[in-house]
């Protein structure tokens, strides 16, 4: 782990990588006191803006800042081009897969994916079987997690095809860097990200159901101020200029969705929903959900409202399905995947399970349906007791887990107690799919594990973020 590839310095002994020329020069010339002052300034500004997230199960500090690191993560224009092509290919395949799984199921008939992986998957929503969502798009917003282990070695770690979050940090981090270091940002010719909210609105508009209205009404549906990502929901609604609604603000009459306004009911055409399938409609899914809208699913099935992302996308992005993505891409596009998968052992297969049980101390084991870094085992960092406990969980429910080698994630210089130290990073670019195709905003969200040596970058587990540059554009 000590010889990880560094985003700025490459392998030990390499010269500074080209994309980092400006950042390196800046770091060499800037006194660390200045960096620390700027960091305090950034924290103050974020607090004032209220760029906070709520931590579940933490009654004490309910509003927290995600630590922001000043040293940007830089990708060259060339590196980005390949990543972008890979992302477009991957998300096109995800959309094709979902259309197929909820349609003719050709991929199951061809035996590429085991049929039970779909049949037994709780995220495969039978309620929408045979339904073609508006314009055929399932995954309007994807946040594909990438990791890097060498100059040309990018791997997809997860396809987040349900309600990926973090894009507000991508935008706020850039605003912060432009405010604190305008010259530096200008000198590196960084591709702008600020068009994301416009692209998102156009994407949502493009999938509005056909109707007589000239202008469809778009809303963002949030679980409310206590949700961990509430700031982001309000941020996106604001930047798009659309209403931020909660379930109780909407109702369904004659299979049409309306919101309650001061001037009476107003028809809603597109819902960018940031709540999970299970909570969307208490009549179909969890009856105890007070977050959703009774009747919403019927309106959706009648084609009167578009939901982004579509209902049932979870079947395509769990970690068991993930392991088949290279085959999925080949099946639908006829081409080799541009971005590789991390090698994955499916614990549901007996040979894989016994390998995993024998090698737990060197593997990362994840729940098939988990997210946010909860409930995972990082073998090299676990105690014997944790490993024993996890082994028991694995034997009890092998279908629930996959395992991957512990990758030597790339590092990026990060300010720590006044010094620059390497910390592991990942990258989550955001990919939009509308009626008119796939668009990727250059860069994305870089998450950084602030604890020395740690590989867990999730904000809920103490990770921070960095601005992400596609430089030299």
């Amino acid at each position: 782990m000590s010889t990880a590839f560094d985003e700025m310095d490459g392998w030990p002994g390499d010269a500074t990588r080209d994309a980092y020329a400006q950042v390196k020069a800046w770091l060499d010339s800037a006194p660390t006191e200045l960096l620390q002052t700027r960091r305090a300034q950034a924290e103050l500004l974020f607090r004032r803006t209220g760029v906070t997230f709520n931590v579940y199960g933490d009654p004490g500090g309910s509003e927290r800042l995600i630590p922001f690191d000043l040293v940007p993560r830089v990708l060259s224009a060339g590196e980005w081009k390949r990543i972008e092509q890979g992302l477009v290919q991957r998300v096109e395949a995800l959309n094709a897969l979902l259309a197929d799984l909820y349609g003719a199921q050709e991929i199951l008939k061809a035996g590429v994916i085991p049929e039970e992986l779909v049949r037994l998957n709780p995220e495969h929503q039978l309620a929408v079987m045979g339904h073609r969502p508006s314009k055929g798009v399932f995954v309007h917003v994807a946040g594909v997690d990438l990791v890097r282990t060498g100059p040309d070695d990018f791997f997809v770690l997860e396809d987040n095809a349900r309600t990926p979050s973090g894009v507000s940090y991508m935008l706020e981090n850039r605003e912060m860097m432009m405010r604190l270091f305008p010259d530096l940002v200008a000198s590196a010719n960084v591709a702008p990200v600020e068009t994301y909210p416009d692209l998102l609105r156009e994407t949502l508009r493009s999938v509005a159901p056909e109707g007589p209205e000239a202008e469809p009404t778009i809303v963002v549906l949030t679980p409310g101020p206590y949700n961990s990502a509430f700031y982001e929901h309000s941020f996106l609604a604001d930047k798009m200029g659309v209403e931020l609604v909660e379930g109780a603000d909407l109702f369904v009459r004659d299979n049409l969705v309306y919101m309650r306004t001061t001037e009476g009911p107003r028809r809603v055409h597109v819902i960018y929903r940031r709540i999970d399938d299970a909570f969307l409609d208490p009549l179909f899914f969890r009856p105890d959900s007070s977050l959703g809208v009774p009747g919403l699913l019927s309106a959706y099935l009648a084609g009167n409202v578009a939901l982004a992302n579509a209902v049932g996308t979870g079947v395509a992005d769990d970690k068991a399905m993930y392991s088949y993505m290279p085959e999925v891409i080949r099946f639908y596009t006829g081409k080799e995947p541009i971005l590789s998968n991390v090698p994955t052992w499916r614990c549901r297969e007996p040979e894989h399970l016994s390998y995993v049980l024998d090698h737990l101390p060197e593997l990362v084991v994840k729940e098939v349906n988990g997210s946010g870094g909860y409930g995972m085992l990082v073998g090299p960092h676990a105690t014997q007791a944790q490993i024993t406990e996890f082994a028991a969980k694995l034997r009890a429910d092998p279908h629930g887990f996959i395992a991957q080698p512990t990758l030597a994630l790339s590092t990026c210089p990060t300010l720590s107690e006044g010094r620059l130290e390497p910390r592991h990073v990942d990258l989550r670019p955001f990919v939009l799919t509308g009626a008119d195709g796939v668009k990727v905003t250059p860069g994305g969200l870089t998450r950084v594990a602030l604890t020395p040596g740690s590989l867990v970058v999730n904000s809920s587990q103490g990770g921070g973020t960095k601005d992400t540059w596609v430089a030299g554009c």
Binding site: G50, Y231, S234, L244, T261, E263
Partner: protein, 313 residues
Amino acid sequence: MLSRTAANLYWTGRYMERADFLARLLDATARLSGLPTTYGGDPAAWSGALAAAGASDAFAATHGEPTEADVIRFLTVDTDNPSAICTCIEHARSNARAVRTGLTREAWEALNTAWHEVQRLRVQELTKANVREFTEAVQRAVAVFDGAAQRTMLRDDAFWFLELGAAVERADNTARLLDVKYHLLLPRDEPVGGSLDYFQWSTILRTVSALTAYRWVYRDVVKPWLVADLLIFNDRMPRSLACCYDTVVELLDYLGAGSGRRGPAHRQASHIQLQLHEGDIKTVFASGLHEFIERFIIDNNRLGVAIAEQFAF
């Protein structure tokens, strides 16, 4: 606009206005209680402040005789008080936070900064000696919020509901102040400038930042019936009942223009506005100042209910 959003903005406006009024009330009371009794200093000033804040009952439930220290704490930071300044700012912020899209970034940041500032200041023990720092910070924060809203918000429903809440609350605050002090404002034969009540009257004016305005309007020494006239009928005086209702009716006009409908709230507000424009202070004194104010407070509360009903809060 969403009814829930409208309600949240309306209450953001109300709570910010209430915080500002309480801060001014504390300032004026601290000043009054500091005068020697031979010059109008009032030992009962603090219980008067509680009454004007509408907090007498809440205070009595958890405290004994109102002392200066207790009243200051109760009106600023006491969590037993549902209308303490800190609680108002807290409510304003949580209402605004639930509808971030309803406010511009600048307006939200002003409010959020106010909240952080109050959190910082509430840590210390507040006394007459340092409460000024706290009340000034609150007044400044509300002014910055108002300014940010004025300068950056679109002139549409969001802005109008925010302003509507502030106007309804402001009318309520002025009326409560008058209700507590009405007995001081009744006309009687006093040698001009010789009354000890002079300091009481000027305290009322200070509480609504109107002492200077009074001099400009009347060019006269402070006379109680003119104080009442200024705060009820003068439509150029921003905290007068007449001016508040001009604002309320104007805002309801804007809000109605969108849907082309005039609801019950509109009719009620116009009716009250008419009374405030056709009435005069002599008639009010003849029929009873106290009764007039009491009826206004009830009418103003009814308008609040009508607004909530009409816009489906």
